[in-house]
Symmetry: C2
Subunit: 138 residues, 2 copies
Amino acid sequence: MTDGSLRQELLGLQANNPAVDRLVEEIIGRVADKWTMLLIEILTEQECCRFGELARACTGISQKMLTQTLRAMERDGLVTRKVYAVVPPKVEYRLTDLGLGLSKAFCGVWLWAEGNLEMIEQARRSYAERQAAEGTSA
Amino acid sequence: MTDGSLRQELLGLQANNPAVDRLVEEIIGRVADKWTMLLIEILTEQECCRFGELARACTGISQKMLTQTLRAMERDGLVTRKVYAVVPPKVEYRLTDLGLGLSKAFCGVWLWAEGNLEMIEQARRSYAERQAAEGTSA
DNA sequence: ACCCACACTCTCTTTTTGGTAAGTATAAAT
DNA sequence: ATTTATACTTACCAAAAAGAGAGTGTGGGT
């Protein structure tokens, strides 16, 4: 248990291929940002959304970021974008199977965060205390 | 299957408490960045690392970002920081149980990314093609 | 004739992020 | 006396990200 066996065991896949690793890191960096995760969650809860619905559901997002994030997700094959040739315009977004798979994968992280909220907050408090203590003694 | 049952089923926890949701989002935003994920991976592979070892293992990171990320991780209770009062200085970092839990949670995302690399790259190619096609016709 | 939807797009400005490089402390080695 | 090693910290600067807000196209309602 002192070596890399845990990750290997958990991953159970190819031995560290540096090229694959780099790609994986790039994809995770791309995909693991706040808005992407939020949009995935929203689209998991309600599978078909229009642009405006997403804007309302995704509190605090700007139009710009919404468009940008959705485009990136479309590019990566996480969502489909269906444009209706009507006026006023109508566009529907929904997760692809790929996107749904990512949603499930993220679920573990959500669970962890939900389950450990208290511990994290406590860690922060005690860190702050330690800092304060150092401040007074130093 | 048309409503939010999937997430509820997968999460199986409290009904959407907005305050909790916001905290969870904040924590995920904090924790799901490139360097944090990389450091967690490194510290999962080798449970005890000195600052310099991390710097070497985490290719491309600057001292500044390394210190910054490690401090944030310490603050959130993901790593412990053990300082030896020697000269030259010696500091050892290792994951806490909380950090190890997050490592496992991230594992699902790594697996997803590794397992779907090909699909993502293909999605990107076909998106690029569609863009190019629109460019010529429009 | 005019305004409203809706889903953007564009420009401009502010904020945040991250890199570089230099500085710090100190004991041991040369 | 000078250098070396280590783990930082600080100051400065460039680049990238994100927000605000106005503009766009068009068919239908008034």
